[in-house]
């Protein structure tokens, strides 16, 4: 995405679900490594990572082990690379017990005239392999790990585990960017799934060329490797470059400077074929097109699963809890809502000194050095809601990601996505996939956020049980002036608390339904994308006009948790009166699209009205002040909790669960 001032942003998300389930530390580490390579292969300097993590319930020791290992793996690789991990997501649901989701997003910055292409062209040009040596690690990784259901044979797949080497990757990064700056490259491609075989054929295909490759020249770390093993090895930290003969020496010199192995392993031809030689003997010859572009197409008949309901639950479907304060505290303590500090404290989120908004807020914002502009980033996934209604769920995920950006004061610009699903050969999974993709497409069209790329992860399924259908969205937004970034903490006593938007809260698929009533059922509300867009325009307007002093959208845990989080962050209380009409628990904890809480000084309320040309509903619901979170309905207190108590529960919960 071009963002002005000669700059472009490269952004992509990738899953490393299966490797992380086998070896959480190395699985997550090599996940970071892979996506970071994707970004610098484009010639962009990686400036941020975000990690989206889904595990089973933390009551199980195995899940704690996975969480601990994955977080440590992300930390070890990202920190060593000097790329700040500035955001992400963390969810715990039983559906992920046997199949955790580890999706990593990397964002890079590049002057757009320096973007590199992953193509090999120009007959007679050289193909150079550089970086780590090639071993047997990860052989069959892509096919075995990413495309099969997990079962008892998991143990036997262990030898395919790859070990990450962030130090070599850091050198690789600097070397590639140096080659870019010196104009030494025709094309550059990382070696990912499928190893040399995939990378070489993709480069040739993109360049409309062919490649003759001599695998006898590939530097090996193990003896006795078969030619096919060399071709499909997924050893990490390797790159393939296409270079004119004139620049060969330059590329070799840069590799020598960074102490990286580099070998000419092939030449570009004009015959459209990938020919593989072992010394003088030709051992493989295939048309590039067959390998890359002519993949078979599956035809599967979608089947709507019986759990997808046609109607929403009635507001009085569940009994009204006797103690709503206790319910609020329970929700604030939920591992899906409480503070994520235990995680992001392990990530270097400040390196590169661009962290204009720190982890823990609506979105992460990094400034662009030498400019007033900044880039805001979020990832969002909500499998539980997509499980109840994949189309509505996917629309909601996109809307919420955009809403988060808008609440930080950023204009949503582009989307990357990672589609995590079960076995697509099954009709029900295929149905979920199709619905989610269409829902996502609808939302992206309406919100004018193009999808620039993404990743698909299937077969997240064990013993016949699939994960929740989980389209994870990574969204990027532009902040025109980093001086105007908005935060969600309440600011000053006496500020008016406003509820913007017309969304109606519902318990279906909410955290409240799961935690307090132990169910996932009903039908989630659909987002009115047109209204959502108007709401976000108003929120951004209120921020840019200097009217809003805080902005926070109503999401997990409903209005009550939204207010509590802003009170905790701001260190100040709030008093709010609920509208008549909804049962208090639904009003407090129900989750709704199209709702944002904004605070503003009394004197500015008129200005807000004036900029609300589109007629977005704006209700004044209370004021900031005191040291308690107070909510009343019909003049009677339904919530009255000290901020300090809420803060303690919210802050310490995750650490306690992990340690306990």
């Amino acid at each position: 995405m071009i963002i002005g001032e000669g700059l472009a942003i490269a952004m992509k998300i990738e899953s490393h679900n299966h490797p992380s389930a086998i070896e959480p530390f190395q699985g997550a580490a090599t996940g970071i490594g892979g996506i970071v390579r994707d970004i610098f292969a484009m010639g962009a300097r990686p400036v941020a990572c975000l990690d989206t993590l889904h595990f089973g319930s933390l009551e199980k020791a195995r899940q704690k082990f996975l969480l601990d290992g994955v977080v440590a793996g992300v930390a070890s690789y990202g920190n060593c690379m000097g790329i700040p991990t500035i955001g992400g997501e963390l969810h715990f649901e039983d559906a992920y017990e046997d199949n955790c989701l580890v999706n990593v997003t990397c964002v890079g910055m590049v002057e757009h005239d320096k973007i590199l292409k992953a193509s090999a062209s120009g007959e007679g040009n050289l193909v150079i392999l550089f970086g780590s040596t090639t071993g047997r690690d990860g052989i069959g990784g892509a096919s075995i790990l990413a495309s099969a259901e997990f079962d008892e044979t998991a143990e036997e797949k262990r030898p395919t585990v790859q070990v990450g080497d962030p130090f070599t990757e850091k050198k690789l990064l600097e070397a590639c960017l140096e080659m870019r700056d010196r104009g030494l490259l025709v094309g550059l491609q990382d070696l990912g799934a499928g190893g040399l075989s995939s990378s070489a054929s993709e480069m040739a295909s993109k360049g409309g060329s062919g490649i003759d490759m001599n695998i006898a020249r590939v530097p090996l770390r193990e003896s006795g490797m078969e030619p096919f093993e060399i071709m499909i090895s997924e050893s990490q930290e390797r790159m393939l470059a296409c270079v004119t003969p004139v620049n060969e020496a330059g590329v070799m010199a840069v590799c020598a400077k960074w102490d990286l192995d580099a070998t000419v392993i092939g030449t570009v031809t004009g015959n459209g074929r990938l020919r593989i030689f072992d010394g003088d003997e030709m051992i493989g010859d295939m048309p590039v097109k067959a390998l890359v572009d002519e993949a078979p197409t599956y035809c599967i008949t979608p089947v709507r699963p019986p759990h997808e309901a046609d109607v929403a639950l009635a507001d009085d479907h569940y009994p009204l809890p006797g103690d709503l304060d206790a319910a609020l505290l329970e929700l604030l303590a939920s591992p899906n809502i409480c503070s994520r500090r235990w995680v992001y404290r392990q990530y270097d989120h400040m390196v590169q000194t661009n962290n204009a908004l720190w982890p823990g807020g609506e979105a992460a914002v990094i400034r662009i050095k030498g400019s007033r502009r900044g880039v805001a980033l979020v990832t969002d996934g909500n499998g539980r809601r997509c499980y109840l209604d994949p189309r509505r769920g996917a629309r909601l995920v996109v809307a919420e990601a955009a809403r988060n950006l808008s609440c930080a004061g950023a204009r949503p610009l582009a989307v990357t996505n990672c589609l995590n699903f079960g076995n697509p050969e099954k009709g029900e999974i295929y149905h979920q996939f199709q619905e989610a993709v269409e829902g996502m497409a609808e939302a992206c069209r309406e919100l004018e956020t193009p999808v620039t790329g993404g990743n698909v992860s299937f077969y997240n399924e064990s013993f016949g049980k699939a994960v929740y259908p989980n389209p994870v969205v990574g969204m990027m937004g532009l902040v025109e002036d980093t001086g105007q970034i908005m935060t969600h903490g309440f600011k000053d006593e006496g500020d008016a608390v406003l509820l913007l938007g017309g969304g109606r809260p519902a318990v279906d698929g909410s955290e409240y339904q799961l935690r307090i009533h132990g169910e996932v059922a009903g039908r989630i509300p659909d987002v009115d994308l047109n209204q959502e867009k108007k709401l976000q325009t108003l929120v951004r307007g209120a921020i840019l006009e200097g009217i809003a002093k805080s902005a926070h959208d109503v999401s997990d845990g409903g209005l009550a948790c939204c207010l509590a989080e802003s009170a905790i962050e701001g260190g100040v209380g709030v008093a709010v009166e609920l509208e008549a009409g909804l049962r208090p628990d639904v009003a407090l904890f129900g989750e709704a699209p199209e709702l944002v809480v904004v605070t503003a000084a009394e004197a500015d309320l008129e200005r807000l009205e004036r900029i609300n040309g589109a007629g977005v509903p704006v209700k004044r619901i209370g004021r900031v002040g005191g040291n308690r979170i107070r909510v009343s309905a019909g003049g009677k207190d339904v919530i009255d909790t000290p901020v300090a108590e809420a803060a303690q529960v919210w802050r310490e919960s995750l650490e306690k669960v992990v340690a306990g």
Binding site: I22, S132, G135, R136, V161, V163, F167, T168, R221, D259
Partner: protein, 79 residues
């Protein structure tokens, strides 16, 4: 009794530490060194008894080593 545990990276698994050390050695004046593999060496005291060996094996497997990427062996030394 005392246990001594030796943990090494599995054959064929990349050992980034070993590689980095090996590459650095010539510059430090140590020529001709190869095959560097870095593992762990753990000492501990455990109660004497029949099942000590089995116990140790379990401990290595569950906690001390990561059997997915590491091999281990141990010695038991009576105090």
């Amino acid at each position: 009794m005392k246990a001594k545990v030796y943990i090494t990276p599995k054959q064929g698994i990349l050992d980034p530490q070993g590689v980095a050390i090996e590459r650095a050695l010539p510059a430090l004046g140590f020529e001709g060194v190869g095959g560097v593999r870095v593992g762990k060496y753990i000492e501990l005291e455990l109660p004497d008894g029949e099942g000590a060996g089995e116990e140790m094996d379990k401990m290595c497997h569950k906690l001390l080593a990561n059997p997915i990427i590491e091999d281990y062996r141990f010695e038991l030394v009576p105090d």
